[in-house]
Symmetry: C2
Subunit: 414 residues, 2 copies
């Protein structure tokens, strides 16, 4: 008897929800638009998707998406489907075609969103998951507790290799834990990857020799597979401790292949996530989406940040971060490290800590660090002080009486 994979959807339909649920189950398994003699009861029992749960949420009078069947009432429901693992085996791409394939195009649905995914042991056991995860990242970054404090090289693109290295030098002088390339900075003619990696790692290694702690730099190796492997190998050879890839840009096979090859933590950027999630009646929740990348071997996953400068609600950010920190199942926890960014300062520390219940995260700030009137060192110190306060249950104002950098920061952190 094959174990089953369970996926949950938010569904809106102008038809009978039970009938639409069966159409989706059929489209994603043994059914088709017409009845076939070869789709026997036995075949259907063996290979068909099953409707496990269907709960009505509400009824509205207009469809959320165009192209749907005409109706005067559209019912919104929670739908749970299950499939036998043997339909696709422990294969991430084929799981994806099954849980997030043609079904979104059905005219029976005027809204469909994948909200949850539960994978059984026979699926997850085929994957190693993040090779470094939280503990491995902490060890390499030399940060045994509290958040890893980071920032992103800015401007995103346009600096030369030497200018990038100069920015890294200033950041290390400011005692930062983590620095990442922007997702737009890969291997352009103005700042070739090799020149950048060499210039930056010279600075990183020099500082590590002096300080006894090495800043973690996530070099954006996104590219073709041979390019990614070559860039990874260069970073490794130069003594670097992290590489970054843009997940949607390289896809599941790209991530899986570089994860197989990599000997460094994989920092997963979610560029493009907006087109997958921002229409509420379509696409993906972060929770099921991030599972695929963790299985493929990603160690860090971007989750935006509380009170971010983008369009995502705090509720959505918290749900995403919690998902990244939750075990996939009892046998395969595979927790990854959430990366908070966008408009971040120490003002978000306490609420972030309270929301996820731990400090196993990378907290990156740009303006919150660079904007400090006393410079980068004070910016980093203020952010760290804000986290100390959060973890001790103290207020920022209280902590600021003991810390000048934080006191000054409170004047410009909005």
């Amino acid at each position: 008897m094959s174990e089953r994979v369970y996926a949950t959807y938010w569904m809106e339909t102008g038809g009978d929800p039970a009938r639409t649920a069966e159409v989706i189950a059929g489209e994603q398994s043994s059914g088709t638009f017409v009845a076939l003699a070869t789709e026997t009861a036995e075949l259907k029992a063996r290979s068909g998707a099953k409707v496990e749960r269907l709960e009505t949420l509400e009824v509205v009078d207009r469809p959320s998406l165009p192209g749907a069947m005409a109706s005067d009432r559209y019912t919104r429901s929670i739908l749970e489907l299950s499939w036998p693992v043997e339909n696709f085996g422990p294969s991430l791409p084929n799981l994806m075609s099954t849980i997030a394939g043609n079904l979104y195009e059905l005219h029976q649905v005027s809204g469909l969103r994948l909200t949850g995914l539960r994978l059984p042991r026979s699926f997850t056991s085929a994957f190693a998951g993040p090779a470094f995860g939280i503990a491995g990242t902490r060890k390499l970054a030399g940060v045994s507790e509290g958040p890893i404090i980071g920032t992103i090289i800015k401007p995103s693109i346009g600096l030369s290799a030497e200018e990038t290295a100069q920015q890294v030098r200033e950041l290390i002088a400011g005692d930062i834990d983590f620095i990442k390339d922007d997702e737009l900075q890969a291997d352009g003619a103005r700042c070739p990857f090799e020149a950048r990696a060499r210039a930056v790692m010279r600075v990183v290694n020099d500082a590590a020799d002096r300080r006894g702690r090495k800043v973690m730099v996530a070099f954006n190796i996104t590219g073709d597979l041979d390019e990614m492997r070559r860039r990874h190998d260069l970073v490794l050879e130069l003594g670097g401790t992290c590489v970054m890839v843009c997940l949607n840009s390289i896809g599941l096979v790209g991530v899986r292949e570089i994860a197989r090859h990599a000997q460094l933590p994989l920092h997963g950027h979610r560029a493009g996530w907006g087109y997958l999630y921002r229409a509420p009646a379509l696409g993906w929740d972060y929770a099921p989406w991030q599972q695929l990348w963790r299985l493929a071997g990603v160690d860090h996953l971007h989750v935006n940040g509380l009170y971010n400068k983008f369009s995502e609600s705090n509720e959505s950010v918290i749900a995403a971060a919690r998902a990244v920190l939750s075990p996939l199942n009892a046998e395969a926890p595979m927790e990854a490290m959430p990366v908070f960014s966008s408009g971040q300062t120490g003002r978000q520390a306490a609420e972030t800590y309270a929301a996820i219940g731990c400090a196993d995260l990378i907290h990156t700030a740009g303006g919150g660090i660079f904007g400090h009137p006393a410079g980068v060192p004070a910016g980093v110190e203020a952010l760290r002080a804000a986290w100390r306060a959060a973890m001790a249950g103290a207020s920022l104002e209280e902590e600021a009486t003991r810390n000048t950098a934080l006191k000054t920061a409170l004047g410009f952190w909005r």
Copy 2:
């Protein structure tokens, strides 16, 4: 002087459109949320994205997407941006992070959709494109003119390897040109890839020996890279003439790597396309999306079909098919073959032919062939007769007076 890449968007904003356009250009190049001393005028001129065109379409009073800045008027515009190629070089993944990255998440936009893409020679010259395309596919399928008539193995999943081969045997006896695996059928325990390929190719090769023409079977090799390579090699060794991959499930790196390896046409399935396009104010149009896969080396691209059973309009289907047949630029035409499917019969032939102006396509029908009262041979013959009529400018009824199979088909094709 670097050549530039041009991307067009449908944009909706609650702010000043010109300001929002600059924010998008900044976010996707050298800008950030705060002004930086290092973003010099020279750097911006060299590496910044430029707003090339901004045309107001209409003003509405409610935002299309949640999370956007509050306003009492939301302006919809056509926005064209350009980037210097040197920002990312001729790299598909890094192009994707740039034209379809963080921008969708900006709170300044209440709607953003990528509608067009123009790539310069310095980008496209780095790619070989489809290795077979239209001419190569026609040659392998033995169909020198008119559409390639095809179908999909059904039920999608649940048949054994031998049952699949039996269905292929019936289809070949019906003189079909093309058969494909369903996107859900890859390498499950019930129908392992190798057993299926061997069983099917025995039937295909036997028939080819007798008939002097070999049916093209698109085997779904979707999986990890080593699996795809192995499956491709097996199909090639067995004398097969096509392999299929699910583009969104394996991603750009997966497609590019299997294309580099492949010696057979790559049939590109778009499973999951629904979550990319179905919200009108978000995501992707097909035209820019399909360019990436053609550059990566895909020979056939699914475009749904006229009067399909899904939710897509005829207008959208036609635009997609035309895009697949349009040259990328003068130096790199790289045309691929559009694949029409879903609820297709001979009734869509004339309108399809008129809409795209040629018959360089694969037309797949399921019920339209299997449902014929006189069996599969009559179903295939009727579909071919409908296309003959379409290409000769004759009506179906006229052609039916000369063709019994078509005459019968008109009774059940709805």
